[in-house]
């Protein structure tokens, strides 16, 4: 699959691994791919983000939101709301755990290394889904190569923290499709 990735897309994947390693995450997750995309300049994905108003300051706001969600066990607002429907207050649980185990304990990240930091990070299920969806999206558009813009599109399509945070900042699948393909693009169910 990777041989069809553009240089930009490969660098995003590589940078996502670095983000995961730097924060001591167990696996490479979709939010690491998003953080890596936000670091890009001059790529198609970066151009699309900038066109939708994500300049330096707004990108920083996205980074903060992603980090904040990770602190809440990586749960999106939709997921936290679903749990609230069951009477489970995620912020309360996070607050209590952090009281005993320190800030960021529920993020699954380990800054002190050693515990699960040996070896190369593997891609988690969510991140694999992002890559697979990017491939399908490229094929659906008849694009021969998978660029970082396909990774971005993919992140907006899969439910989770990246899609939610991006939508909060005006970056939706529809908006991206308009910029990248000049139309609504493939059907959402595709």
């Amino acid at each position: 699959m990777f041989e069809r990735f553009t240089r930009d897309a490969r660098e995003v994947v590589q940078n996502a691994v670095e983000h995961a390693e730097r924060t001591g995450a167990r696996t490479v997750d979709p939010d690491h791919l998003l953080l890596a995309l936000l670091d890009r300049e001059g790529s198609r994905g970066s151009f699309a983000l900038t066109s939708l108003g994500l300049d330096g300051e707004r990108r920083e706001s996205v980074r903060r939101a992603v980090t904040e969600a990770r602190r809440r066990a990586g749960l999106s607002r939709a997921e936290a709301d679903a749990l609230a429907g069951l009477g489970i207050d995620v912020s309360e649980i996070v607050a209590r755990v952090e009281e005993v185990h320190g800030v960021g304990a529920m993020s699954g990240d380990r800054r002190d290394r050693g515990w699960w930091s040996q070896g190369r990070r593997t891609f988690g299920r969510g991140a694999k889904q992002v890559l697979e969806r990017a491939l399908r999206s490229a094929v659906a558009h008849g694009d021969r190569h998978i660029g970082d813009e396909h990774l971005l599109l993919s992140l907006t399509l899969l439910p989770g923290v990246p899609a939610e945070v991006l939508a909060d900042h005006g970056v939706t699948y529809e908006a991206l499709s308009r910029i990248l393909h000049g139309g609504p693009g493939e059907a959402k169910a595709g």
Binding site: A73, G74, L75, A78, E79, A80, D81, A82, L83, A84, G85, L86, G87, I88, V90, I93, V97, H101, A105, M106, S107, G108, R110, W115, W116, Q118, G119
Partner: protein, 69 residues
């Protein structure tokens, strides 16, 4: 207030999607809680066997999941 109403409606929602999403979210919450507690126990010198016994799983299961490779 509208938020509180929304939540109240959601709690009584018959839409399976809402219930399933809650279960999936609960599972993720559980995974993180388990990791925090296992780590804490290891830091305090607990053996894999002792941790497994408390979690109600086999020693192999917990070691495979959290042990070093």
């Amino acid at each position: 207030m509208t938020e509180a109403t929304d939540l109240a409606e959601r709690a009584g929602d018959r839409d399976p999607r809402v219930g399933l999403r809650a279960v999936a979210a609960l599972r993720r919450l559980l995974e993180q809680l388990e990791a925090v507690q296992v780590r804490s126990a290891r830091n305090q010198g607990w053996s894999w066997q002792e941790i497994a016994a408390e979690l109600g799983v086999s020693r192999q299961a917990v070691h495979k999941k959290y042990g070093r490779h």
